[in-house]
Symmetry: C2
Subunit: 150 residues, 2 copies
C-alpha cells in the first residue's frame, strides 16, 4: 500500500489530534510542512492550557517559531479539521499558499475566503478525522461549542 505525501502529513496531524484527546483536550491536530519537512506541529490546547487562541493550527504555527515570510510562502498547513475564522486568518497573515484539510463534515470554516485570497485548498475527507471529531462532539457538546464561539 502506498501513501501520498498529503496522507503522510495528515497522519502526523492526526497523531497530534490523538495526543490532544489523550490529554483530555479537543482532538484537533496540525502540522506545518516546508519542502517536505515538518517544521511545526501542534494540537488544540483550550483544555490543557486554558487557552482561547491555541487552536491546533495556532499552536502549530507558534511551535514552528519565528520564520521568514519566504518560508511561510513555501509551506503547506495541514489540519485535521477545516480551519476556523481565526486559523484561516493566521494562514492569510503569513501568506501560506496551501492548506490541506482532514475533513469539513463536522465543521466548516471560511474556505471560500481562503480560496478567494489565492490559497489552494485540498480536502481529504479522511474517515478517521471525521470519526474522531464526531465522537468528541457527541461526548463534549458544550466544550466544542465554546471552542467555535457558540
Amino acid at each position: 500500500m502506498t501513501y501520498t505525501s498529503d496522507e503522510i502529513f495528515m497522519n502526523a496531524a492526526l497523531e497530534e489530534a490523538r495526543r490532544g484527546r489523550e490529554q483530555g483536550g479537543i482532538p484537533i491536530g496540525s502540522v506545518l510542512v516546508h519542502n517536505g519537512v515538518i517544521i511545526g506541529r501542534g494540537h488544540n490546547r483550550r483544555v490543557q492550557q486554558g487557552s482561547v487562541i491555541r487552536h491546533a493550527e495556532m499552536d502549530c504555527l507558534e511551535n514552528a517559531g519565528r520564520q521568514p515570510a519566504s518560508v511561510y510562502q513555501e509551506c503547506t498547513l495541514y489540519s485535521t479539521l477545516s480551519p476556523c475564522d481565526m486559523c484561516s486568518g493566521a494562514a492569510l497573515l503569513y501568506g501560506i499558499p496551501r492548506v490541506v484539510i482532514g475533513e469539513n463534515v463536522t465543521f466548516s470554516g471560511p474556505e471560500s475566503l481562503l480560496t478567494e485570497r489565492g490559497v489552494e485548498i485540498t480536502i481529504l475527507q479522511h474517515q478517521e478525522c471525521i470519526h474522531l471529531m464526531r465522537q468528541f462532539i457527541v461526548d463534549n457538546a458544550e466544550l466544542w461549542n465554546e471552542d467555535i464561539g457558540e
Copy 2:
C-alpha cells in the same frame, strides 16, 4: 475636558502599546471591554516571547481567559492598530460585535470583511497611535514586516 468611553478605553490600549515598546517589543496594544469593564488587556509579544500568534488582540483575548459566547457577544475589542487577518478572524470566531481601531493609516487589515460579517467598526485616527507606529516602523522596518508576514 471630557472624554468619550471609546477614548478612555483606547487610552488603556495605548498604555499596553507603550508597555510593549518599553519591553523592546512592537508597540501595539489592545483591551477587551464588557459592559464598560476591561476584562482583558494585552500587547504584541513577538519579541518578548518569540511569539508569532501573540499579536496585541490575541494576547488580550488570551489574557481575558475562557469566556462564554454570551460574554464575547457583548464585548468591544479595542486595538491601537487596524487588526490583521488573524486578529480579525479571532474577533469573528468569538462573535465580538464591535471593534474600535486606534488608527488604520500605518496598516490596514481586512476591515471590509469585518463589516460584511456584521461587525461594527469605529476608527478613531488617534494621533498618538499613529505617531507610535510611524516611529516604530521607521526604526524597525524588518521586524515590522515580519509581524505582518511580509
